[in-house]
């Protein structure tokens, strides 16, 4: 092996504290130039925080960043860009209504005389960039007309145009077709040979092994493995990612499943521009069973739950609750049939932030307190208090706005709201997102208790630990299809590899 590539940037003793959590706990990270530095870890392990620190979006609480042996401090993102650091976020920051050239030069347009945008120069430079990246994209094309993979290339071009010596790619392939992934890898190889240091974040382990030169594994804010990619295989990565000790949310009693409470048959949701977001999904949940639906972002899990909750009128397929077909077309009707959804985005979908805790709890179940059209406020208040106690929601007063609660308690309010409708099947989309570790454990205990009371639970998660520890059965979704069905206690590596079936990536391009 030839001499090691030089270290372009390193972090020593990096600590980042957010209110309530330590996202990074003393991280040492070396970024090598002219190489692909792969970064891998579970959701919430601290990958994004680390990258935001490098890109100048966040500041370290403790520790220092060194570039070429000197300590540097980035005041903001623009400052990091000046130091030659570019980042391509998972969600693209582009303007679909502007042309490719306009997107690349947004915010730093070349001007003549301080006013007039020099469109010709923009076009020229864009064309040169596209040649350098070996892409055939016309600078005048409106960005919205490009495929998502090409948009990604434009985002990379934008970073390259600012003379990025370090380029951070956050899950760049999550939305790409197999062909587009090849193109992206060619671009990466090209940049690498030009001496650019690349940080590559992805959940697709095969991809990491193929493209990476160095690997760093993060778990709960600490680095659990950092080495050259030589000799690294998937079992090694998985071990470093989730450790040997599984987190404990043990089942207290032997599972006693009842009859099937919910079944979905051939649920299909077409995607705009061809293909399927949810592709002929069939599954069933029994009473008392917790089914974990695992997969990567964009696998179609959330959309599948939304189909069950009548959010996609174009979806086809059949649902059954306790064996009887679910024909209701609106949310209220489906709630009446015993379906309850706990949405992924609490703020946007789950709660009415300015309303009181009591009002949020009872919003789906007002019928319970209504005679003719009269709302029995005292019965409502009693029941709300009852649920606050049952779910141990810590509130000073149920009349305070729900926005005053912490994330974990807000989540319990959402769960309480769902339970008040008397559901038979509970759909939970990322139930532990955005809540701290203590509240997480409490939410999981609640899920177990509900299941033991005979509720069927279908929960979506991107956290491998969670799905392994909590599920009675694990289903894996990828590209809209169910690609794996594992019993409790399944092998972690098998579950992970089902999330990215390599052969199935049809070359849609």
């Amino acid at each position: 092996m030839s001499a090691e590539p030089p270290i372009g940037l390193s972090i020593r003793g990096g600590v980042k504290v957010y209110p309530g959590t330590r996202a990074l706990k003393g991280v040492d990270f070396d970024l090598r130039m002219g190489a692909v530095n792969v970064l891998v870890g579970e959701n919430g392990a601290g990958k994004s925080t680390l990258m935001k620190v490098i890109a100048g979006v966040e500041d370290l609480t403790e520790g220092r960043i060194e570039m070429d042996g000197r300590e540097v401090r980035f005041r903001d993102k623009a400052d990091a860009v000046k130091h030659g650091i570019g980042i391509v976020f998972q969600e693209l920051n582009l303007f679909p209504n502007l042309t490719v050239a306009e997107n690349i030069f947004i915010g730093r347009e070349p001007v003549r005389g301080g006013i007039d945008i020099d469109r010709e120069a923009q076009r020229r430079e864009t064309r040169a960039l596209m040649q350098r990246l070996e892409q055939d994209i016309d600078p005048d094309t409106p960005l919205g007309l490009l495929r998502i993979g090409q948009q990604q290339i434009v985002e990379i071009a934008k970073a390259v145009a600012q003379d990025a010596r370090i380029l951070i790619l956050d899950e760049p392939t999550s939305a790409l077709s197999a062909h587009e992934v090849e193109v992206l890898f060619r671009v990466i190889a090209e940049l690498k040979s030009q001496g650019v240091g690349i940080v590559y974040i992805s959940h697709r382990l095969e991809e990491l092994i193929r493209v990476g030169d160095y690997i760093t594994v993060l778990r709960d804010g600490t680095i659990t493995g950092a080495r050259s990619m030589e000799g690294v295989d998937i079992p090694w990565i998985v071990r470093a990612m989730i450790g040997d000790s599984s987190k404990d949310f043990p089942r207290t009693e032997a599972p006693a499943f009842g009859a099937e409470v919910f079944r979905a048959e051939e649920i299909t949701l077409p995607r705009e521009g061809g293909g399927y977001t949810v592709d002929h999904v069939s599954l069933s949940v029994r009473a008392g069973e917790i089914v974990g639906l695992y997969g990567l972002m964009g696998a179609g899990r959330t959309e599948f739950l939304e189909c069950i909750m009548a959010q996609h009128p174009h979806a086809t397929g059949r649902f059954f609750v306790e064996g009887k077909p679910l024909t209701e077309r609106d949310v209220a009707g489906r709630i009446d049939r015993g379906i309850a959804l706990i949405p992924e985005d609490r703020k946007r979908d789950g709660l009415v932030q300015i309303m009181a805790i009591r009002e949020n709890l009872t919003l789906s179940a007002l019928k319970r307190f209504t005679r003719a059209f009269h709302l029995d406020l005292s019965a409502e208040a009693t029941t709300a208090m009852d649920f606050v106690k049952r779910l141990t929601i810590k509130v000073a007063s149920p009349e305070n706005p729900v926005s005053s609660l912490s994330g974990g308690n807000q989540q319990k309010v959402v769960i309480g709201k769902a339970l008040m409708t008397g559901p038979k099947i509970l759909l939970m989309d990322e139930p532990s997102r955005g809540i701290d570790i203590g509240a997480k454990a409490e939410v999981f205990r609640t899920m177990r208790r509900l299941a033991s009371e005979g509720l069927g639970i279908l929960f979506v998660t991107s956290d491998l630990d969670e799905v392994l520890a909590l599920s009675d059965r694990i289903l894996v979704m990828a590209n809209g299809r169910v690609t794996g069905d594992f019993p409790a206690g399944a092998d972690a590596a098998a579950v992970i590899s089902a999330t990215a079936p390599t052969a199935s990536k049809g070359a849609a391009a």
Binding site: G350, Q353, L363, L377, K394, S403
Partner: protein
């Protein structure tokens, strides 16, 4: 020592919070006090009735407007609905309905009122359908019906006034004037009507699922829909109710004047919005109280009438009204901030 500070802070801020919450009420007492000192004859029973009659018309519209604004919408068409309904009532009193077969159908006062109210609800229905089915923004949809309804009102008489709406005893419509000018137990009918509509609206908002849903839709439409709230039905209701309130005002004005003029009600929608906002209704939706809106309408009305009695130029009145509205919203923002802080403190004190 450190223990004292957090204990003292909530009590002082909650006192201030109470004052801010009751600000519309405080404002009402202030304007009442001010004018009873500054304007002679202001604080008499006769004047109180006169002022209330002035205020009532705006209060009707503001009640309907409050529901609409709570859902996060706006209804600009109410002024035009007032005009249209005044013309409908006038037409019915004068001509009845002529099916074009050489004879006409005449109505008594009750039937005229009913038809007029239905016309108002109909325009509200159009607003609702445009907004829920065709996804037109509320501002644009009701701006459109504002013009259409006003145009229809003008077309009905060719721009002229329907005069002498005395009614005809033979048809039972001679009691038409009673709506706007009659009294029951010495109190004008229209004030009884305001009390009835006010109580009804307040009841709906506080003690029915529909009311709760109105707030939920304004607070978070997506979240409400996912909770099983039938968002479209709620929206249909608020625009229909607003149309109903506007129709009442049109009916009352036609009856009071015993004439209907197609320009009746121009810019009334702005006064209604002002009263709702003054009463603490948030333009971004989700917050507002019927009681607050009625007090808001009284503050605006008393301010206007009181300034007239003091002999202040009407141009200055307009300026003062504007300043009061802006002040109300600025104070509202302060209250929201303080309220959020107090709630957070309470939750923090309860120990997560």
């Amino acid at each position: 020592m450190t223990a004292i500070a957090p204990a003292a802070a909530p009590s002082s801020s909650s006192g201030l919070l109470l004052l801010l919450r009751l600000r519309t009420f405080v404002a009402l007492i202030l304007v009442l006090g001010f004018f009873s000192v500054m304007a002679p004859n202001f604080l008499t029973a006769a004047n109180a009735v006169i002022v209330t009659k002035h205020v009532a018309l705006n209060a009707f519209l503001a009640i309907g407007m409050t529901f609409v604004i709570i859902t996060g919408g706006i209804d600009l068409s109410v002024g035009s609905i007032v005009g249209l309904c005044a013309m409908v009532a006038g037409w019915l009193v004068l001509y009845g309905i002529d099916p074009g077969m050489g004879w006409s159908i005449q109505f008594n006062t009750f039937e005229i009122s009913l038809i007029t109210v239905l016309v108002g609800i109909f325009v509200g229905t159009i607003n609702g359908l445009l907004i829920t089915r065709l996804n037109v923004a509320p501002f644009i949809a009701t701006l459109g019906t504002l013009y259409v309804a006003r145009g229809a009102a003008l077309l009905s008489s060719g721009g002229r006034t329907f005069p002498n709406l005395n009614g005809n005893p033979d048809y039972g419509s001679d009691t038409f004037a009673f709506i706007g000018t009659g009294t029951i137990l010495g109190i004008p009918v229209l004030i009884w009507m305001l009390v009835a509509v006010g109580l009804l609206a307040s009841y709906i908002s506080r003690r029915t699922p529909l009311g709760r849903h109105i707030y939920a839709v304004g607070g978070n439409e997506r979240g409400a829909a996912l909770s099983g709230v039938k968002v479209n039905r709620v929206k249909m209701f608020v625009y229909m109710f607003s149309g109903f309130c506007a129709a009442l005002v049109g009916l009352i004005i036609a009856s009071q004047l015993q004439a209907s003029h197609p320009a009746t009600g121009e810019t009334f929608e702005l006064n209604a919005i002002a009263a709702a906002v003054l009463g603490g209704t948030s333009m971004s939706g989700g917050r507002g109280r019927i009681g607050g809106t009625i007090i808001g309408a009284f503050v605006i009305g008393i301010l206007g009438d009181g300034l007239i009695m003091m002999g202040v130029s009407s141009f200055w009145q307009t300026v003062i009204k504007g300043v009061v509205i802006i002040a109300a919203v600025v104070i509202d923002q302060a209250q929201q901030k303080l309220q959020a802080r107090v709630a957070l403190q309470q939750e923090a004190a309860a120990g997560r």
